[in-house]
């Protein structure tokens, strides 16, 4: 195992978690990774029935889901007005009435995630809130623009104020098992990010097999990813529990071998509070409590928040809620 990486550790802005420096590409490690689809599906389907989170515990877990949320808008029709509205919601995702009843203050989301052109708006709107701005980059969602442009795009976004960059990998490198090229690509993106936090989007719905997902996860982490993320939200299949299980296990193995803790971000398709609880319990079981924080876990979601707000209102009032009772994002 080639872990002769530099032990010189840099620190993430708000975390005391040592930042992943990456390690040399280890092809023996990559090729030894297995993922048995049927067994993974079995584990994934029982996680929801193995853990049940009720009452005040459920309320707390849902608040934690909000804190771990990358509130996202990634549409061709995004405007400055739309992004301002989203940022306002990011600062106050839960109504004050609810947070008061729960005995909490200052609940905010993990980040706001936008396209490059919206960074400036988001940064100015979120100044002082402590909420980072994440930008999707590198020819998102397909990632097929020229490599120098993709690298330049990262640099543009970083200088525009994005502190997290969600890059997309070249799926073809995974599909052709071209691990060297994948490693070099992510390494160059990482370099371009500088001190900004890099999330590598695998687009798992386009990788064909869970084995590919597992191997691509490992290569991205070796190349220095801070987070590994499932999807762009634009693929036909986005985050699923089996894919999450595979990526979490990859993170666990990377941690065991290198000591670095890598974050996980499922994105797309998670829209129910109950699903959020299932994902969080999978994180707790497979990775441990430390991963249950925005430093190491994010939901990429646009409609999840609404359902969580309704569930929280139900918890505080005992009455089922309606979406119009909660402010739009």
């Amino acid at each position: 195992m080639a872990t002769k990486n530099s032990k010189k550790l840099t620190l993430l802005p708000k975390a005391i978690i040592p930042r992943n420096t990456g390690v040399d590409l280890d092809l023996d490690w990559v090729s030894s990774i297995q993922a048995n689809t049927s067994a993974i599906e079995r584990r994934a389907t029982t996680i929801a029935s193995r853990r049940s989170i009720k009452k005040q515990y459920q309320a707390a877990w849902l608040i934690q889901a909000v804190r771990c949320m990358d509130l996202t808008t990634l549409s061709g029709d995004d405007t400055i007005g739309r992004v301002k509205r989203l940022c306002a919601k990011a600062k106050k995702p839960i109504s004050k009435t609810l947070t008061d009843k729960l005995g909490l203050n200052n609940v905010k989301v993990g980040a706001v995630c936008v396209y490059h052109d919206m960074i400036e708006t988001a940064v100015s709107k979120l100044t002082g809130s402590g909420i980072p701005v994440a930008a999707v980059s590198t020819g998102f969602p397909a990632g097929l623009s020229p490599l120098p442009l993709r690298i330049a795009e990262i640099e543009y976004s970083v200088s525009a104020g994005a502190s997290e960059i969600d890059i997309v990998i070249s799926r073809r490198h995974v599909l052709t098992q071209n691990w060297g090229d994948l490693y070099d690509e992510v390494r160059s993106f990482r370099k371009a990010c500088g001190s900004a936090h890099i999330k590598t989007i695998l687009a798992t719905g386009e990788l064909g097999t869970l084995r590919n997902v597992a191997r691509a996860s490992a290569v991205c982490m070796m190349a220095g990813a801070d987070f590994i993320k499932t999807s762009t939200g634009k693929e036909p299949v986005n985050a699923t529990l089996p894919v999450s299980l595979v990526m979490m296990r990859a993170i666990r193995e990377y941690h065991e071998k290198t000591g670095f803790k890598i974050g996980y971000k499922p994105a797309g398709g998670i829209s129910k509070a109950k699903d959020a609880l299932t994902y969080l319990s999978l994180v707790k079981e497979e990775l441990g409590d430390q991963w249950l924080s925005p430093d190491l876990f994010r939901f990429g979601a646009s409609s999840l928040l609404g359902d969580i707000e309704r569930q929280l209102e139900h918890y505080t009032t005992g009455v089922y809620s309606a979406s119009y009772r909660h402010a739009m994002g």
Partner: protein, 779 residues
């Protein structure tokens, strides 16, 4: 705890399932129960307590059945059998369907009741036990509807005595009652004394489902009640699930009684992990294998065999996973492991673990102070000779050792007296599918574990028992063959004169390992023909000749893996060679019987050889519709070494009728001919010698059946004993077979000319089914 505090700890908290409805149901019965006999609950008497093992509370008082109760229940079942076995299959299907529906409608009540009675986590009773029980009734409603179109010449057996264990109370009840009723039998079932409540709730829904009075009877009590059932003369079949120890006693007690018997006993099932497996998934498999139901599972993957190169890595993964397991109140929906069923069981586990020389690792988890809990445990550093690698613990204790090669993995897997189940973990299809047939077990899971379904057989080989539950084979365990028996018992000629024939002396010998052999004891017996003239001497075999024959059979083990085509060629060749000598055999038969039936018997014998040559490559396994993406394969495998006690009637036809199906299916066989008629058998080895049969595949002994029966059926390396001999022989065989839970098949007075004395009945006996679960898919 406030939301703010929880946000710091991110604990799960508690999520208790309410026991309210179950308690209401108990109160409705004043928490005290009688038996369910003839469609009604009797008034409670001779009470004993049923305890919730998670907190020690007595939750109900149950009745200990007396002899009188047992008689009453068996009588009710006997009376009901007449009409239930004759009723239109559709009527039986409707009743089973109603039971399934009612189980579904009351599923939460059953789940909660099971959990407070047994101590298993509510997740398991709710998501596994109760849905599988329903599935069994649905499946068998279908079986009742259509089985007669698939199975001919079989009929229901009669009153079935069913004795079930405490680990899966309702599920085991379903596995027993559903096929028994579908086939047209009636039952008297005894649940385990620790866990009878769901059976009594089940009794209540029987009336609602329209089960006719007496078709299902449920009596409660301890092992004494089971014993009464086992010994009851009006019970035609005993089906038992439980320990090998008790199974052995039941085999002995039923010996010679004519009762049909199926036993589902203990196990020490291997869980084999190769270095190319998805190790994280394999660890999760272990959770389902050994920490499912507190490890109190007969087919638990309790014996971990790890590829030596990954031992440390895999152990580390297991320990990390163990530390995440939550042990506690079984009604809590976030609990992985509940309470051990009874104090005696907990003590047994503790004692076994305390004696081990291995390194014991307990999960770093909290367990409640009150109640019968035991931490998930891993014991490493053991070798196959250690007690805990051999003995069933029946608790959440995993023992581990390593192997170097696939062959060594297989040898270790088979290095046990048990043979219930096995799990194989590898991403290499050649390795996994190649190993599955080599492991001696009734069920093999590839990259999975503890998968069950009504559509596929479950059951063991070796000392894990015999008989299958589920699928068509499970149904057959509740049917018997309807076949004509000879009206006249074969005349056994024992009178003799000393008048010698003037022919040149011909020395009949034994035929062992492809060679003619003199009997070890050096004794022979004269045999006489129909006119009481001396016909020749035949050897008197003794136990050493049996030993030699078994050794010869062992050496011929390759026969079992030879192709059906090859076996067919050889059987055809036997027919050819018999045909060439048909006149000589025909004369010998006429000489010995005094009839003129020799020609016909030889003709039938040749036909029969043709039949089994035909069957050799056509008695196929099957693929069942199990609810996984993958296949549930039923493979038919040779039983192994079979000893047959041949009848004296139709000496050639009966000999061939026994030998041919056995070898066609890949078994090695030793036929023991009684003195009467044995000259035909000894003549026959000359046919064998010219037919290219590999040495040891067929061995022929002659001798006194009663003398030889104990040695044949107690031999540990014999897998099955068949007898078409006298009743006394049957009794001895069945009794002695209990030593290693051998398969026995004893019938008498078969009319060998009957076409039903050929085919499926024999092929079933000559094969063992193995269920192989192969989930697949890549995506």
């Amino acid at each position: 705890m406030s939301v703010k505090e929880i946000l710091d700890s991110m604990d799960y908290g508690v999520a208790p399932e309410s026991a309210g409805e179950a308690k209401k149901w108990l109160l409705k019965h004043n928490s005290s129960f009688g038996h369910f006999i003839g469609g009604a609950l009797t008034s409670p008497k001779h009470g004993f307590k049923s305890v919730n093992p998670s907190n020690g509370e007595a939750i109900a008082s149950l009745s200990q059945a007396t002899n009188k109760d047992v008689n009453k229940a068996v009588k009710a079942a006997k009376n009901a059998f007449k009409s239930w076995s004759a009723v239109n299959p559709h009527e039986r299907a409707k009743v089973l369907y109603s039971i399934a529906r009612l189980l579904q409608k009351n599923s939460r009540l059953f789940s909660v009741l099971e959990t407070i009675d047994n101590g298993k986590p509510i997740r398991e009773s709710r998501d596994i036990d109760i849905p599988l029980a329903q599935r069994h009734f649905y499946y068998h409603a279908g079986i009742a509807q259509i089985y007669k179109s698939k199975i001919q010449n079989m009929e229901p057996i009669g009153v079935c005595g069913q004795i079930i264990p405490w680990n899966f109370p309702l599920l085991m009840l379903a596995w027993k009652i559903a096929p028994a009723l579908a086939a047209g039998n009636t039952v008297v079932l005894k649940p385990a004394e620790y866990t009878s409540l769901t059976a009594l709730l089940f009794a209540e829904i029987c009336s609602e489902a329209g089960v006719p009075d007496g078709v299902i009877n449920i009596i409660t009590g301890d092992g004494c009640v089971g014993e009464m059932l086992v010994n009851h003369p009006d019970i035609a079949k005993i089906a038992f699930t439980g320990s090998t120890e008790v199974g052995r006693v039941i085999r002995e007690k039923t010996a010679g009684s004519g009762k049909s018997l199926t036993l589902e006993l203990g196990g020490k099932s291997p869980f084999i992990v190769f270095d190319d497996a998805d190790l994280d998934s394999a660890v999760e498999g272990l959770v389902d294998a050994i920490w499912f139901n507190q490890g109190q599972v007969c087919c638990a993957g309790s014996r971990l065999l790890i590829h030596e190169s990954i031992e440390d890595k895999f152990h580390k993964k297991i320990r990390n996973r163990m530390n995440k397991l939550r042990v506690g109140d079984p009604l809590d929906k976030s609990v992985d492991m509940g309470a051990i069923v009874d104090k005696s069981q907990l003590t047994r586990i503790k004692n076994l673990v305390s004696e081990t020389e291995g390194q014991v690792y307990y999960a770093e988890c909290e367990i409640p102070k009150k109640g019968l809990y035991y931490k998930p445990t891993l014991i490493t550093g053991l070798s196959p000779s250690d007690k805990l690698m051999q003995e069933e613990i029946f608790g959440p204790v995993l023992v581990s050792t390593t192997f170097r090669t696939p062959k060594e993995a297989c040898d270790l897997a088979n290095d046990t007296t048990y043979g219930l189940a096995a799990s194989i973990w590898s991403e290499n299809i050649n390795l996994a599918l190649g190993l599955a047939p080599k492991i001696k077990a009734g069920v093999v899971w590839v990259n999975g574990t503890n998968m069950f379904d009504a559509a596929i057989g479950f059951g063991g080989v070796k000392e894990s028992g015999f008989g299958r539950e589920g699928g068509w084979d499970g149904l057959k365990s509740y049917l018997k063959h309807s076949i004509n028996f000879s009206a006249n018992k074969a005349k056994i000629k024992q009178s003799h004169s000393n008048q010698a024939t003037v022919n040149l002396d011909r020395t009949a010998k034994l035929y062992i390992g492809g060679k003619q052999a003199r009997p070890d004891g050096g004794y022979s017996q004269k045999v006489f023909d129909a006119t009481n003239n001396y016909a020749g001497h035949v050897p008197s075999s003794n136990r050493k000749d049996i030993r030699n024959a078994v050794e010869a059979m062992n050496k011929a083990s390759n026969w079992s893996t030879s192709s059906g085509h090859l076996r067919a060629q050889i059987i055809y060749f036997m027919a050819e060679n018999l045909h060439a000598r048909r006149e000589e055999f025909s004369k010998r038969i006429d000489q010995m019987s005094g009839n003129k039936s020799g020609k016909k018997e030889v003709e039938f014998s040749i036909r029969r050889l043709f039949s089994y040559a035909a069957w050799a490559d056509k008695f196929d396994g099957s693929i069942s519709g199990v609810p996984v993406r993958g296949v549930g394969l039923t493979m038919r495998e040779a039983v192994g070494n079979i000893i047959v006690f041949c009848p004296s009637s139709e000496p050639l036809l009966s000999l061939i009728s026994c030998i041919a199906p056995a070898i066609a299916m890949g078994n090695r066989v030793t036929a023991i001919s009684p003195f009467v008629g044995s000259l035909t058998a000894t003549d026959f080895y000359q046919v064998l010698e010219t037919s290219d049969i590999p040495p040891g595949v067929i061995n022929i002994l002659t001798g006194n059946h009663l003398d030889l029966a104990p040695h044949a059926s107690s031999h540990m390396d014999v897998n099955a004993v068949w007898s078409f001999s006298e009743e006394e022989v049957t009794k001895t065989i069945e009794f002695e077979a209990a030593k290693n839970i051998k398969r026995t098949w004893c019938l008498k007075n078969i009319d060998w000319f009957d076409t039903r004395a050929e085919g499926e009945m024999f092929l079933d006996a000559a094969t063992e089914t193995k269920s192989v679960w192969i989930p697949y898919g890549e995506g």
